[in-house]
Each structure stands twice: as structure tokens, then as C-alpha cells.
């Protein structure tokens, strides 16, 4: 079957790819574009390890078809740091040990960044509900939630 030709912007760069009808955006990112920072934990929208932004909206890339992304703007974990400089969330996750194995970390960071962009002063409950779609089996979420709230406080203070 003929492949679909798709033109998108990924992390600010124009990218073109060919994909089959059944490939998800996650498949495209990982298998076609070698952007393996987005992880596959379930392929069914239940774990959040594949979280990316599409046109400014937080989505599970395993639930988006690669062929339907033409013209869209996609942001992934690979574009989160600004060159050499980590995003404040990334830095805080390191300082606060908010990751153990790290497989959930890209998805959690993408989701947390999306939260802080719409709410720079979330309560603990808001952070917990926002991140409820990102499974982490290692940390018990304690250090993750703290790191997100500390980053929010820093960013408010610094802004």
C-alpha cells in the first residue's frame, strides 16, 4: 500500500516523513525518525510514556495516527532543553531525584511542562490529577509531584 507523505514541524524543525496507514505518531517518531525519547509502555493510551505536544495540546502519541499529522506542530522530549540548557523541570527532576528507572520521565516531563504553561501555581491535587495519565511504577510519585511544584515556584519567582 502506498505510504502517506506527511510534512510537520518537530521541535521547531521542518520534517517530512512517509508512513503507513497503521503507523501511529509514536511509531513514526521512534521507528522512522529515530526520536526514541518518547516511550511505548502500552500503545493504548493508558501509561502516558509517549506523551508529546501536537499543536500545543498534550496527547498520547500512541493514539494519534502518523498520517493525520500533516501540517501539525509537534514537540517532544528531545526539544525540551534549550540547547545545552536544561528546562527548569528537567533540572529540578535531576536535583530532586524525581526519576528512578527513567522510562516514564520523558512523558512526565512533557506533561508537567504542559501543566505549568497553563497553570504556573498548581496545587498538589492539581499536579496529581494532571499527571494521573502518566504511570510511574518506581517513585510512588512523591518526588515527581514535589519537583513539579518546586519548579513552578522557581519559575514564578524568577519571572
Amino acid at each position: 500500500m502506498a505510504k502517506h507523505h506527511v510534512a510537520v514541524s518537530i521541535n521547531g524543525e521542518p520534517v517530512e516523513y512517509l508512513c503507513s496507514t497503521r503507523q501511529t505518531l509514536l511509531d513514526v517518531l521512534r521507528d522512522e525518525l529515530n526520536l526514541t525519547g518518547s516511550k511505548e509502555g502500552c500503545a493504548s493510551g493508558d501509561c502516558g510514556a509517549c506523551s508529546v505536544m501536537v499543536d500545543g495540546r498534550l496527547v498520547c502519541s500512541c493514539l494519534v495516527m502518523g498520517a493525520e499529522c500533516d501540517g501539525k506542530t509537534i514537540d517532544t522530549i528531545e526539544g525540551m532543553a534549550d540547547g545545552e540548557k536544561l528546562h527548569p523541570l528537567q533540572q529540578k527532576f535531576l536535583e530532586e531525584a524525581a526519576l528512578q528507572c527513567g522510562i516514564c520521565t520523558p512523558g512526565v516531563l512533557v506533561a508537567a511542562k504542559a501543566l505549568l504553561e497553563r497553570n504556573n501555581n498548581p496545587t498538589e491535587t492539581q499536579v496529581r490529577y494532571w499527571l494521573a495519565g502518566n504511570l510511574c511504577r518506581c517513585t510512588g510519585y512523591d518526588k515527581i509531584v514535589r519537583a513539579v511544584m518546586m519548579t513552578a515556584a522557581d519559575m514564578r519567582g524568577g519571572a
Binding site: 525519547g37 516511550k39 526519576l99 528507572c101 498538589e124 496529581r128
Partner: protein
């Protein structure tokens, strides 16, 4: 060895982990992130039946499909002798292992692998699976442990000969274990109160977020390279070598970053298949499990039923414990019933103990280790029963535990006499914690429970190479699941007296470092840490020799202090200290590269004890249980990197809360797993949990230079009973069956309300 020095520069600090930047930027390569050029893809055909004879498998149509490069079945594996081989926290039997990775005479569970295909694309491989024709003769199946032990149960293995008991005819009981201390009959005579209860626990999955993944590449000369996410690259090498009849030297296994394991990645599933497919095709083969395959075919932990009889005096002294534990092993023998029995009442000093355990097979996936294998199961029963006993006696549950706590010198029912242990300290800290005194609202209750885990040592090798510029590389051989590289680098920096950031810890593949037993048993920071410390000391010894050479004095005249060689005394002579960097720069002139090494079978693991406090609120209308506050107190020996120790404690508690409240394998009447996905097998999400306060008690392990004890497993032991005890405290209703999900709690509340109304 003594835990003498305590003014550490790095030990006990919260450094940035060496692998951290790669993990927050998406750069880190996990199992499925690895690719090779020319790589093709493998998929596995799995049984739709819980139990069936495989009458025939016809792979011809699959083989004929364009793009299919190879199809394998059990015919491609030689059979293996039936013998139990020790493999860390479990025993393995290669006869069973080869049947688990590829079903031979029968399929024994829903999801059991029975063929694998390698094709140019995943799509073609999946299409090929549908073309494989299997003629099954479906057999009656058994899922439940008590039913599997019943006389008329469907039998999984006609040739199963139970260990530790006589069997009249075929049986599903693989083993009976028994531990006896004192005389329980006498102990019960001394008791003023005796309670007897039954409990059940459900099978739960380790739930690592990263599915199993492997790339194998076998070249024409028979040399195999394997990249996979595993808790033990050496374990993979051994098992693949045995199953495929390959020499150890022909297999090189490189562990990827690992996205969680918790014991579930201490076995092989895909690795032998990918290696065999690759050797047939002559190309690298990549295989990844789907989440559904992870649930259906990789190791959950045992489901269980158990009975406890416990007696105590009015004063609260436990006089006897008699328990029977029945643990499901899944399709092949090997449940953690032995450690379950050994750990059951290990926190307590009890004169009369009798524990019997059964290892039982049924039509479920073969269990794999899960954090402190067996202990959380037996502790759920023991710590629930103990709580009931305390209530009956009108004694505070913490006090009850203090009255019976094991101390240095206590003889445990499973054999050894404890050295310096910190159980009492965890109880005292719990009692002193403001959580224990905080007020509770309506429908709220508080529970406490304790737990024990042995922790292990084992074989470890490490190399510390001093670089020309005065930095160092630490090579060890244990996959790092939760920050162990940071701990190893910190200990090396401490020994060498250089900056932590100048130490680069690397995890070697099987060809670049000596043998290391797998990451498990909470052993890495303790045992491999010890090897790293000794390797660093070996490097320091060489550095001192080099300084002696430069100064033209005896090596004994040189000491190592704060990263410098110094004369031991003024008698040796007046010399300016030589820094590690200065000595490294001159290494070529003074004898060549400076490489410290150590390899040993580490003994002296210090057991771990924990006490947890849990507050819940139970919704009387829905039976929903919300965990409001949670405090985990644990003797950690010495926290090398406190943040990652806290992380282990918090993560274990969260897993235990999931086990307590939600998680279970649900089988339908046909023996098919009904909930093989994260939607229906619900692990705790962020909004299900409160903050989890980790309180670290440091009673140093006197057989480790820094006092390290394993910390990773005991956090999962107390939570289920802590939650159950809290629910009882909130509602007066005792939950004896896991999970304590809303329908079950509501049913128990309704039954209690009915009883009350009737009275």
C-alpha cells in the same frame, strides 16, 4: 571491617546521578530504543488456551509468506535435563525454562509462547503468526491455588514429583517446606488468647512501564551479541547459552538502560528466541513484547491462600505461631514459598513457630521474583493476624510489636541468629512520629505493619581505572534500575579522595567486566558497592606504590589521605603530598596504567526491617478506600544517596498500596486473563496517592565499610497489612482477601451492617 569513619565527603549527600541528563532529555537508550542496520523483526505466537495438548503445529503457510525469514517452534530447541539450579533468589530448572520460553508438549497458560517468526517488518511477522496452524486438544484447566491442590484437580505435569512430601498419584504440589522452632503445642498451652484466621492474596504483576525488548545478532562464526533490558546481563548469557547449547564465550550481552524490573526481569523470555532466529536468518532480530504480552506471559507474583494461628499471653508476649502458606508458582514449579515461610514472622522473637508452605502449579504464567519475593504475601497474613491479636488483648499495635521485637541475638525461626539489626529502632521511631498521634476524622483509621527481608550479597566484580588526567572510571556489572551508579561513584570518590563528578561509572557488558550476579536481592549498592570500594582501595594501594617509587621509599611508608599520597610520618622523609592527578600523570614512567580491581562472592548482607503507618478514609457508600497519609520507616544501614533510598522506600510503598487496593489478575471461566492492560489492571496513579514520607533509620551493617544494607525490597513487605489494619480501624471490618477493592469493601461493610441490624 568496621563502620568506623563517619565524616564523609560524598557518602550521604544528594549528588546528581551520572545517567540523569540522558534520562531527562530522552537520550538514554532503553531496551526497545536499540537498532542495528539490516535488522528484522520477530513476533511470538501465544496460546489462546489455558491448558491444551499441542497435537501439531504447521508453519508452512507462514514460512511461505513473502518477507518471512524464519519460523521457530520447540522443535528448534534441544530438550533440557530436569535439575534445579540455584539462580539467585530462586532456583531454575532448564527443563521447565525451555518449555516456558517455547511450549513443547502442552500449552500451560493463556499467553504461553509456542512459535516465533522473524520477518522483514513487524506487520509481516504478525500476519505470519495468523498463518500458523496449531491443532490443540483443549484440556481442563485450573487457576485457583486451593483448587489446584484438590484431589480431582486437572494435572499440569504428569511427571511432577513433589519435593519434601509423598504424593499418592499425580499432583500439582511441587514442594512442601517446613520450618519449626520450639514446640507450638506447648506454646499454645501458654497462651491466654489464640486467634486463627485465613487470608488470600491475588497475583499481581511487577508492572514495570518498559516492556521486555531485545535485539540479538548472531554472526556467521557463531558469535552472538545481545542487547536487552534485563536485571542481569550475565544471567541472560548463562540462560541463552544453556537453552541454545552455545559456549559462554560465544555470547556477549549488553544491558540497555532498564525501565523498571522489580524482579520481573531476572528471567529470559525473548532473548533465546531472538538469538535463535538471528542465527537462522543471519541478520539482527529485534523483539518487543506488547503490554498485553507482558501481562499474559511474563512473571507476575504468586497468588496465595494462608492460615495463621497465633497465641499470646495477656501481657502481649507471643507464645506460638502456626501457619500454612499455599503459593501459586504458575505453570512451572518455583513460587517464592520458601522465603515467604522464612520471612513470615521474622521480625519477632517467638519461641515456638511452625510454618508449612506449599509450592503449587496452575494454569497461569510462571511467576517471577517481585521485590522481596514471598515476604509481602506471608507478611499480609502475619501482620493482619498480629493486629487482631493486639486488638483482642487491648494492646496498642505498635506496643504489641515492641513487646515481641527481634533484636541482636534473637534466633529467627528460619535458622540464623540476628546480629545488629534495626527493627526495634523502626518501632520506636514510629511511636515517636507525629503521624502516630495525629487526630483522625470520621470513617478514618490508622494501621501499622512491619516487614523483614534478608537482603543478599553474591558475586560481584568491579574495576576502577585511574585516567591520565586524574579522573576515574568505575566499571561494574549490574544494570542500574534506580540510581545505583550514583552510589557506586560516590563510594569510589570517597575512597579515592577525588570529586564525585570526576568519577564516571559504567555498566559493563558480559565481555568487559568479571561476572556479576544480577541486580536483585537489594544487593547492588551493598555487594557491588563493596567490590567497587575494594577495587578503589586496590587502585589506592598502587598509587601509594607509585609515590613510594618517586620518593624512593618503602611503599609501607606512604599513606593515602584526602586524594593525596603522603609520607606516613616524618621518619619516612619530608615530601610534598602527591595528588592523584600528579601520580596519574606520571603513571607511564612509574609502572604503567593504574587499574584497581576486585572480584568476590560478597557475604554479610544486613537484613532490612521496616515499619509503616497508614491512614485511610473509607467511603461507607462506595467502599472506596483513600490513603490519606503514609509514613515508611526503615533501617537502611547507611544511605549512600539518601534521595534514591527514599525513592526505593516510596516506590515500594506505592506498589504495596496498589497490591492492597486494586491490583489483581482476573481470569475468566475459560482460564483467559481478562485484564491484560493498564486500563483494567490498574496500578496506582498520582491522584490515588498522598505524599509518602520516608524515614530512614541508620543502624550500620557492621560487615560493610560504610554500613550499607539493602534497601530496595523490604518497602513492599508491610503495606498490604498496614492498609488492611487501617481499614479495620476505620470501619471495624477486617478484610482478609486482597485486593481490598471498592466492591469487596462495600460487600464487607454491608455484611457488617446486616449483622449489626440483626443484633
Amino acid at each position: 571491617m568496621s563502620a568506623g569513619k563517619t565524616d564523609y565527603k560524598w557518602v550521604g549527600t544528594r549528588t546528581i546521578r551520572p545517567d540523569g541528563h540522558d534520562k531527562v532529555t530522552g537520550r538514554a537508550k532503553f531496551g526497545s530504543d536499540f537498532t542495528l542496520s539490516g535488522m528484522i523483526h520477530g513476533r511470538v505466537l501465544r496460546s489462546p488456551h489455558a491448558h491444551a495438548l499441542i497435537k501439531s503445529i504447521d508453519t508452512s503457510a507462514a514460512e511461505a509468506l513473502a518477507g518471512v525469514k524464519a519460523v521457530i517452534t520447540s522443535k528448534d530447541f534441544k530438550d533440557q535435563p530436569s535439575e534445579m539450579i540455584p539462580a539467585g533468589e530462586a532456583m531454575v530448572n532448564y527443563k521447565d525454562m525451555t518449555r516456558n520460553v517455547m511450549a513443547r508438549e502442552k500449552v500451560l497458560y493463556d499467553g504461553h509462547a509456542l512459535a516465533a517468526v522473524a520477518a522483514t517488518t513487524v506487520e509481516i511477522a504478525e500476519a505470519a503468526l495468523e498463518l500458523i496452524k496449531v491443532d490443540y486438544q483443549v484440556l481442563p484447566h485450573v487457576i485457583d491455588v486451593d483448587e489446584a491442590m484438590a484431589d480431582n484437580a486437572p494435572i499440569l505435569h504428569d511427571d511432577l514429583v513433589p519435593v519434601g512430601m509423598d504424593a499418592k498419584g499425580p499432583t500439582n504440589i511441587a514442594k512442601r517446606v517446613e520450618f519449626t522452632l520450639g514446640e507450638v503445642a506447648k506454646g499454645f498451652e501458654q497462651a491466654d488468647v489464640i486467634i486463627e484466621r485465613s487470608y488470600t492474596t491475588a497475583a499481581v504483576h511487577q508492572g514495570y512501564i518498559e516492556p521486555h525488548a531485545v535485539v540479538a545478532s548472531v554472526s556467521e562464526d557463531g558469535q552472538a551479541q545481545i542487547w536487552c533490558c534485563t536485571q542481569g546481563q550475565f544471567m541472560v548469557r548463562t540462560f541463552v547459552g544453556q537453552l541454545l547449547g552455545m559456549a559462554t564465550s560465544a555470547i556477549r550481552v549488553t544491558p540497555s538502560e532498564i525501565g523498571g524490573g522489580f524482579g520481573g526481569k531476572t528471567v529470559v523470555y525473548l532473548e533465546p528466541l531472538a538469538t535463535l532466529l538471528s542465527s537462522k536468518v543471519g541478520k539482527p532480530v529485534k523483539m518487543i513484547m506488547s503490554r498485553e504480552e507482558v501481562f499474559r506471559a511474563s512473571g507476575p507474583t504468586s497468588a496465595s491462600t494462608m492460615t495463621y494461628k497465633i497465641g499470646a499471653t495477656k501481657a502481649g508476649k507471643i507464645t506460638a505461631v502456626d501457619a500454612t502458606l499455599r503459593l501459586l508458582a504458575g505453570a512451572f514449579p518455583g513460587s517464592p514459598v520458601q522465603p515467604a515461610a522464612m520471612c513470615a514472622v521474622a521480625p519477632y522473637d517467638i519461641e515456638n513457630v511452625h510454618i508449612v508452605g506449599y509450592d503449587v502449579v496452575a494454569n497461569r504464567p510462571k511467576v517471577a521474583a517481585y521485590r522481596a519475593p514471598g515476604a509481602p504475601i506471608s507478611a499480609f497474613g502475619a501482620e493482619s493476624a498480629l493486629d487482631e491479636l493486639a486488638k483482642e488483648l487491648g494492646i496498642d499495635p505498635l506496643k504489641m510489636r515492641q513487646l515481641n521485637a527481634a533484636k541482636a541475638g534473637t534466633k529467627a525461626a528460619y535458622g540464623p541468629t540476628f546480629r545488629n539489626i534495626g527493627y526495634q529502632e523502626t518501632l520506636d521511631a514510629a511511636e515517636a512520629h507525629d503521624h502516630y498521634k495525629a487526630p483522625l476524622g470520621p470513617n478514618q483509621g490508622r494501621g501499622v505493619a512491619s516487614g523483614f527481608w534478608f537482603n543478599i550479597g553474591g558475586e560481584s566484580s568491579a574495576t576502577v581505572n585511574i585516567n591520565e588526567d586524574g579522573t576515574a572510571v568505575v566499571i561494574s556489572g549490574n544494570p542500574d534500575i534506580g540510581g545505583s551508579r550514583a552510589s557506586l561513584a560516590m563510594m569510589a570518590a570517597e575512597e579515592l579522595g577525588i570529586d564525585y563528578n570526576d568519577v564516571r561509572p559504567i555498566i559493563g557488558d558480559t565481555a568487559s567486566i568479571g561476572y556479576n550476579f544480577l541486580t536483585g536481592g537489594s544487593r547492588v549498592t551493598f555487594a557491588t558497592g563493596l567490590a567497587v570500594i575494594e577495587a578503589a582501595r586496590d587502585a589506592v594501594r598502587q598509587l601509594c606504590e607509585r609515590a613510594a617509587k618517586i620518593w624512593e621509599v618503602d611503599a609501607e611508608g606512604v599513606i593515602w589521605d584526602d586524594g593525596h599520597a603522603k609520607p606516613a610520618s616524618s621518619n619516612v622523609g619530608e615530601f610534598d603530598p602527591l595528588s592523584l592527578a600528579q601520580l596519574a600523570a606520571q603513571a607511564a614512567k612509574t609502572g604503567g596504567p593504574i587499574c584497581g580491581h576486585n572480584a568476590q562472592n560478597v557475604q554479610g548482607a544486613g537484613p532490612g526491617f521496616a515499619t509503616h503507618i497508614c491512614d485511610v478514609e473509607v467511603d461507607p457508600e462506595t467502599g472506596h478506600v483513600a490513603v490519606l497519609r503514609y509514613t515508611s520507616i526503615q533501617d537502611v544501614g547507611r544511605a549512600i544517596h539518601p534521595s534514591y533510598v527514599e525513592g526505593q522506600i516510596q516506590g515500594g510503598a506505592a506498589q504495596g498500596i496498589g497490591w492492597a487496593l486494586n491490583e489483581e489478575y482476573i481470569y475468566n471461566a475459560k482460564g483467559k486473563l481478562d485484564n491484560p492492560g493498564f486500563l483494567d489492571y490498574r496500578i496506582p496513579v498520582a491522584s490515588d496517592l498522598p505524599m509518602i514520607e520516608a524515614v530512614m533509620i541508620e543502624v550500620p551493617n557492621d560487615r560493610h565499610p560504610y554500613g550499607v544494607r539493602g534497601v530496595g525490597e523490604v518497602p513492599l513487605v508491610p503495606p498490604m497489612a498496614a492498609v488492611a489494619n487501617a481499614i479495620e480501624n476505620a470501619t471495624g471490618v477486617r478484610m482478609e482477601n486482597l485486593p481490598m477493592s471498592p466492591p469487596r469493601v462495600l460487600a464487607a461493610l454491608d455484611a457488617a451492617r446486616l449483622r449489626q441490624a440483626a443484633e
